[in-house]
């Protein structure tokens, strides 16, 4: 039986043993080890880390293995594990300008300081099954570049910002810079130099050190309406498929926001902690992230000259599709702030933020598999009672609108033709009344 009330524990144990057998598959086939998953299924590991919101390739690989490749299940495993981990501190803001990029492209300028760096990308590949790969292939020789990349890579949106052509990173309310654009490029490099100086002490002149303390969706319940800090956190660990469809819907006219890929970059960034007893930041990890800086529909009028707007995406790993989706949805969620009508699903804070998390969605959708027979029994009794009333009405007894005191005749269970009528009798009074 589906819910064997006796032997439930035995059945569960047996089901889990069978699950493990399914995980292992044919025992004659060598078992996957975590190194293989981490090294050869890197994008699966990246997705699990991003949506599990825990940067740990080893545990993410374990989750992929344990979940038999079901990434949403793997994400859940990692998320449930991360919630038990102690918090050692808060990192300094990560400076993506100083990223050691493996990929950096802009779709708004043909060429730019630092260059278009394609890096590892599926773009421009022909999606033909590579039958040779089936038998395995050694890693290709990758030649070292003649000279290192221009570091730090200046940011495309900083040039536009310097010219006042795009809203500042924090939104329209911020003061516009009054520097000329040609100086601004040097400034971007200069800011990075200042960043070097900032490494000497904590809370140094970081461009965002005056920002209010950001929220934390892992420590505080989501309060609506939510600020952009909290929204970006939700999007960063949102389900990739959900974000992709939401982003796509904006491109098809449900909250259009005219995105240009100002700059997309992938690479390693340093995570720095500032231990109180030291008073200066120390690098605790290098993590791979993908950042999408989008240039969107311009605004202006009244006190504000015309300028482009922004959408921002940042995710763990090489998840470019997700970073771009995130940036489009971020921009869509800023509709009201930017004086646009927010009438589409992607612009609706409650709709997007409360349904984006696949751990929650998957859990609740699948909870329908739990037994519901007490609830169903209640509904059965109600429907039977309503049918009986309806039949009485049809027979000309007049519809009674009085739910009370209308005693049903007892029916025999074996009275096949009519057996749905035997068990209901509304009680005229509240219990104990």
């Amino acid at each position: 039986m589906y819910v064997a009330i006796k032997g439930g524990e035995r059945a569960i144990r047996a089901a889990h043993a069978l699950l493990d057998a399914c995980r292992r598959g044919d025992p004659d086939v060598p078992e996957l080890d975590l190194d293989q998953i981490r090294e050869q299924l890197g994008l699966a590991v990246d997705r699990v880390m991003a949506e599990g919101s825990l940067y740990d390739p080893e545990f993410a690989a374990l989750a992929v293995k344990q979940a038999q490749g079901d990434l949403v299940e793997a994400i859940f495993l990692l998320r449930a594990y991360r919630t038990t981990l102690p918090r050692l501190g808060e990192s300094e803001p990560v400076d993506t300008t100083r990223m050691a990029a493996m990929r950096r492209v802009s779709a708004v300028y043909k060429d730019l300081p630092g260059g278009q760096i394609l890096g590892p990308t599926f773009d421009y590949t022909h999606r033909l099954l590579d039958f040779e790969l089936a038998d395995g292939r050694d890693a290709p020789d990758i030649a070292e570049a003649d000279e290192p990349l221009h570091e730090p890579l200046p940011r495309v949106l900083d040039w536009l910002n310097a010219e006042g052509l795009i809203e500042p990173p924090g939104g329209m309310g911020q003061k516009q810079p009054d520097t000329a654009p040609d100086v601004a490029v040097d400034d971007a490099a200069g800011a990075a130099d200042a960043g070097d100086d900032a490494s000497e002490k904590c809370g140094g002149p970081h461009p965002h050190n005056d920002d209010p303390e950001p929220g934390d969706i892992t420590l505080d319940p989501l309060e609506l309406p939510a600020g952009r800090d909290v929204r970006l956190q939700c999007l960063a660990r949102a389900d990739e498929g959900f974000l992709l469809s939401m982003a796509y819907s904006t491109q098809r006219g449900f909250g259009r926001n005219h995105p240009f890929a100002g700059e997309i970059r992938t690479g390693e960034v340093a995570v720095e902690l500032c231990p109180e007893e030291l008073g200066f930041p120390v690098s605790v990890a290098d993590i791979t992230v993908t950042e999408a800086d989008m240039i969107n529909q311009f605004k202006g009028g009244g006190d504000v000259p015309a300028q482009f707007t922004r959408g921002y995406g940042l995710v763990f790993g090489r998840l470019e599709r997700k970073a771009v989706s995130m940036a489009l949805v971020d921009r869509a969620l800023r509709a009201e702030e930017l004086g646009e009508e927010a009438s589409s699903p992607a612009q609706d804070h409650e709709f997007v933020l409360l349904h984006a998390d696949n751990v929650q969605a998957s859990g609740f959708v699948q909870h329908v598999k739990l037994p519901h027979y007490a609830d169903f029994q209640s509904e059965l009794a109600l429907v039977r009672g309503l049918r009986r009333k309806w039949e009485v009405g049809k027979r000309g007894g007049g519809t009674t609108t009085d739910g009370a005191g209308d005693t049903p005749e007892a029916h025999d269970v074996d009275d096949a033709g009519d057996s749905h009528l035997h068990s209901f009798g509304p009680d005229g009074m509240e219990n104990g009344a």
């Binding site: 006796k6 991360r82 959708v365 109600l382």
Partner: protein, 308 residues
């Protein structure tokens, strides 16, 4: 590979438990009002009782005796899973006897055996917002609660009565707490609603996915939404339990053959078992079929204390 992680008592770290206890205290102070809390991911899926799980984890102590039921039964899959979770992570004694338990975590039922002072009921809540199906927006419904704007609920009830002759809500039937907050009792059958009223037990409601906790302190007045000329009614069966003969308890309908033949048995398996131990018999308990069914469907619970 890294060393194996060790989990703390009842799984959650102490800071998290303190945060949940603060929300519980706030909830007790404002009966029926939904208090936001920073729900954590648990090793069970959201929507499978993570709110109840976190509330239990925050209030359980080493000396507690825990009972877990799902749809009234101690031995359905999820109840077994949650009970063994606490047996494993908190190493507490577990029981199937309502009278022996100090904490009872439940999904969708209140035990038939009357509760007593000192017991804590922990309810698993899927949708804590009683106005959700009338207004999907959290921002709106919070304002409605603040302004005691409950007209919509009465409009729905009025429409049900005019169209169908009675309330069309058979479970998760909304209640008014101490004349102030309308509260979702979780999907218990409305049959159980009267048990909420002035219960001597402390009743805590946890919604994990929805990040809300609310509570009924002992002896709180809880009234099911109704009109004076259309009083609240509960389901009643024309028959008694086929196993123990109880005419007072909520019955489950069990299809027993291909012809759609049915038997009825108490949804509360512990209550049914105690009655049979006391010598009570139902219509089917004499026959051989019933013995088999009782064996298959009702049975003794295998877990008495501690992990398996």
């Amino acid at each position: 590979m890294k060393p194996k992680s060790r989990y703390t008592f009842a799984y959650l770290d102490e800071q998290t438990k303190r945060m949940i206890r603060r929300a519980v205290l706030k909830a007790v102070a404002v009966p029926g009002c939904q208090i936001p809390f920073a729900s954590r991911e648990m090793p069970l899926p959201p929507g499978w009782g993570t709110g109840g799980l976190q509330v239990t984890a925050a209030v359980i102590g080493q000396d507690d005796v825990l009972k877990v039921i799902d749809q009234g039964s101690d031995d359905t899959t999820n109840a077994v899973s949650i009970r063994s979770f606490f047996a494993r992570t908190a190493n507490v004694a577990t029981t199937t006897r309502t009278s022996e338990a100090s904490i009872i975590q439940t999904r969708h039922r209140i035990p038939e055996t009357p509760l007593r002072e000192g017991q804590i009921m922990v309810y698993q809540v899927p949708i804590p917002e009683p106005l959700r199906w009338l207004e999907p927006r959290e921002t709106e419904t919070r304002t409605m609660h603040a302004l005691e704007e409950y007209g919509l609920l009465y409009v729905k009830l009025y429409e049900d009565i005019t169209r169908l002759g009675e309330a069309a809500t058979s479970y998760n039937y909304p209640v008014l707490v101490e004349g102030r907050y309308v509260m979702s009792p979780s999907p218990i059958p409305k049959f159980d609603n009267p048990k909420l009223d002035r219960s001597p037990a402390l009743q805590l409601f946890g919604a994990g996915r929805e990040k809300r906790i609310y509570a009924l302190p002992p002896f709180t007045a809880v009234e099911s939404i109704a009109f004076e000329d259309h009083p609240f009614t509960v389901q009643r069966w024309e028959r008694a339990c086929d196993l123990c003969g109880s005419a007072e308890s909520f019955l489950d309908e069990i299809v027993i053959d291909d012809a759609g033949g049915r038997m009825f048995a108490c949804s509360d398996t512990d209550f049914c078992e105690r009655r049979r131990q006391a010598g009570n018999r139902g219509a089917m308990s004499a026959g051989l079929i019933a013995e088999e069914l009782a064996g298959e469907l009702i049975g003794e619970s295998e877990s008495e204390g501690g992990a398996q």
